[in-house]
């Protein structure tokens, strides 16, 4: 039974595939798909290249499996945006969750950023399908909040884009953020500062005009 089948059967296969995916996350997120080599991933996973290729037939298989597995985690915060909650509170906790993800899962953010920068050759269908559908859904909710006057009227799509952009910026452009803040302000506190700033910006920016 070959190991690279879509569904691993043995315990050893499940474990090794997980090890490989963790290593691949590390490597792909820092060098991009094209810039990463199978050797690098194999080394990071502590195994030989042919052994790795026993579990994943091709480099691209590792990447697509990884992306597929990351997707749910990545979209979870947006999924939690709740129609029933208080609009400004909901948006504020969405922003906070996204900033926490930028802090705790920067590699995941960079993988997506890298892929989209290159034109999303391997995940375009997902963007046009699953992602668009989710955003459409949440845009309806946000528009409802606007109609009932609980937040200011504006474009819900660009609102979501701007939350993505500002929060993921702290993962994807981390080097630049730290370089500009300098040694004194570039410590761990930057995420807390960012969260405070963004909450203020969006809450004040979206407060309905009396």
């Amino acid at each position: 039974m070959e190991g690279s089948a879509a569904r691993p059967r043995t315990r050893i296969q499940t474990e090794k595939r997980d090890t490989i995916l963790e290593a691949a996350l590390e490597v792909f997120s820092t060098h991009g798909f094209r810039g990463s080599t199978i050797d690098q991933i194999a080394a990071a996973a502590g195994m030989s290249k042919p052994n790795l290729l026993y579990y994943f037939r091709r480099k691209e298989d590792i990447f697509t499996t990884l992306i597929q597995r990351l997707l749910d985690t990545w979209l979870a915060p947006l999924r939690e945006l709740d129609d029933e909650g208080d609009p400004l509170t909901e948006l504020r906790s969405y922003i906070r969750r996204k900033i926490e993800m930028a802090r705790d899962y920067p590699r995941e953010s960079r993988i997506f950023a890298n892929e989209i920068l290159q034109g999303a050759p391997r995940i375009l269908p997902m963007l046009e399908g699953e992602l668009k559908q989710l955003v459409d859904e949440k845009a309806v909710i946000i528009r409802g909040w606007m109609r009932s006057g609980r937040i200011a009227r504006t474009d819900p799509y660009h609102l979501i884009f701007s939350i993505w952009a500002t929060t993921q910026h702290y993962a994807d452009f981390d080097v630049q953020v730290r370089a500009v803040l300098g040694p004194d302000r570039g410590g761990e506190g930057r995420f807390e500062d960012a969260a405070r700033f963004l909450e203020q910006l969006f809450v004040e920016g979206l407060r309905p005009k009396g």
Copy 2:
């Protein structure tokens, strides 16, 4: 006289080097540094690989020359932020200029994004030097506006980051933006919509509380 000297002497050298840099901008911005090959750039520039290498000795020389040349253009909008102007007007036109750049020069934006994503190995000194200095300078101006009560008090650095993030998002993540907006809303109007949204967000978000 070798052609790859820092200062080209003949007219033909100046022209060819420009042709190469334009081709390199196209190639580097879509595949990143590592993902681009000299052959691709040479083909895009309409010359043979050895001929290209006659003008730039190494692949990295092309890249650094290109980045160097792009830098001024790229930072121009921030440089124009004027102490003397009306704060909200100044910020609004900064945002508008940045959105126009995302629309008109997406390749430049993607080159920087790509480089920073990989940890800015080739431009880190510039980030820590020139860029930091410029931002420090403008942060002082913005803080002055806050002190005099003409805009709300907040963190000027994160304010600048958020303007970068939101505007450049429309260049760097263009594929995703178009995928989510769909065929009907993903047309050229998206930049105008984005500009309107962002101006509203920042102006309302920064309006000083009476």
